[in-house]
Symmetry: none
Subunit: 178 residues, 4 copies
DNA sequence: TATGAATGAGTTTTCATTCAT
DNA sequence: GATGAATGAAAACTCATTCAT
């Protein structure tokens, strides 16, 4: 499973071969077909398991404030040690694939929906406490935050020199301005 | 070329076959290898040409204000007729592929850099005129705007019911608040 | 064994898998290799045992006249309840396979030879009693009867609407005409 | 195509591999998939073409009497040079496969139906001329004749020493007896 | 110049059999 | 004795690219 997740990140979902997965895992390649119904099932399980390990829902549940959330995004995007670069690539690969595979779309959608709900609650709490701009619905701000996270992740993959920290600071300033 | 661009959007970069491209274009399939050095060259040319046609740099150059820019993003993301859904999918496919193909990365990077420069200028002008939050560098806000655009595009592809317009309204309110 | 026989009839000899047999029998699939030397041995035993149960030699031994024999053929061919359709399909599968597998050929040949001998005797008795056309050797008529049975069975499998009863009536009329 | 037909006869429908076909034909094995949509299509085309060549409908159309027909059956069944042994095996393989493949069933059914119609006409003419037993409907006798042909073919494949000629002589005597 | 048949490397999948537990 | 995970050989199929015509 780990081998599969790594290879999705390195080569892209569509270029992963069962042979390569088996080889990296040091296993004979018949094993893959023996344990999974097919390549797609293997990749889906590998990706979702990698997410569950790397981005445990508890991390998000523990967010006390929008500031913490921004810090988490900044760490994920900007700090090469915070989030395994494997995972961010994997996330995009999975999102891309999910467009075409309904099974993956369902499972990934559920997972991302859980995160989103926690973000909405965090934003709402911030607004109630006066720490966060209250001139827009919490749902809209949560969507915005999610989009910023994904968008920065994507752009940093393409241009590692991008000043993602600066962009997040700007967002923090925008949200905090009373 | 148009056939190739459509197929990248529909099937994903890696699943496009030269046969399918030729078939959709109504051309004999030896033609593809005859006119292009290989599949990759064909796809790169097709993608970049599609961008140049669908997102002409003049659209961005004509932006008078950050409000206009937000309107453009909202239209691209939210209005199915504004930006051919082919193009947004194509953009993600190309960004994904660019991670692995240096030739594509260079050409796509140049193109996106041009857009980015125009956005920075638009933001700076807005700050100078007092219409845009001045508490953060123009570069940081431009990065933020670009990330929001990409992030929303990506999320809408996965969940067409997402309220992207609300998120953009929230961003507009954040930026405009004096 | 019953599971194996059913699957030969349903899927064809060559498409039966040991896994499928074990699964239908509700047994762990290591069992198959444990109890039989290999797949071929299992299928041969299963087929021959199914024949022994479905077409016991006693049925043929009890035939009193050629008329009875024709009735038996008519029932096998025409009556879906007389002969389990599993068995007729199984018979053809086994005959096909026997062409290639000498071990099966020997055992199946012995079995069919036993039936044939009884048919010859029945015909001979009919000729002696004047009930059956005596202008041809009993062996030749027995061969003819066997061929008619197999041929009709085969054609009915392909075309269930075939009027097999009519053909047998015609044969009865031919044989009986004094 | 000839290679495929031969291999069906030699190995059985299910055991033919595209590799083996290509090898016998002296062609690289990618060729098979290039020219046919899949293995099944290749085998079906090969089998039907072999029948059309070996058992041209003209042979049956030219039958002047039931005696001629019996002669044809005797030749097919008994004379190794009359009907390529490839074709008789091929016929059984195709009939067996037709039970499972609707496309093949349709095409084979049409072909065999054409033969059957000609046999019915021949029998009817024989009855009208007084040369053939008239105590049974022509359709029933035609079915009987077809079944005898198929049944003998099948039994001769299993036991090459079977006296098929004797059985046909017996049938001739039965039919001719005024 | 243009075509499309041919090629063969590479992919996924199936499955009988082996064998450690 | 019994199990089922593991193995690897073999299968069908895909497809970019080559090249004779």
């Amino acid at each position: 499973m780990r081998a599969a997740a790594e290879l999705i990140a390195e080569l892209g979902w569509g270029r992963v071969t069962t042979r390569a997965v088996a080889e990296r895992a040091g296993l004979p390649h018949g094993t893959v077909s023996y344990h999974f119904r097919g390549k797609q099932e293997l990749l889906i399980e590998a990706a979702l398991q990698a997410f569950a390990q790397a981005m445990p829902i508890e991390h998000f549940a523990a967010l006390g404030s929008v500031d913490d959330l921004l810090g988490l995004i900044a760490a994920e995007v900007g700090d090469p040690d915070a989030l395994d670069p494997v995972v961010s690539r994997l996330l995009f690969e999975a999102m891309r694939e999910a467009e075409r595979d309904p099974a993956l779309r369902g499972r990934l959608g559920t997972m991302l929906g859980d995160y989103r709900r926690l973000i909405v609650e965090t934003v709402r709490a911030g607004q109630a406490g006066g720490a966060v701009f209250a001139g827009a619905p919490a749902e809209a701000l949560a969507t915005l935050l999610g989009a910023v996270g994904d968008g920065l992740l994507l752009q940093v993959l393409l241009d590692p020199d991008l000043d993602s920290a600066g962009a997040i600071e700007a967002l923090r300033a925008l949200l905090a301005r009373s």
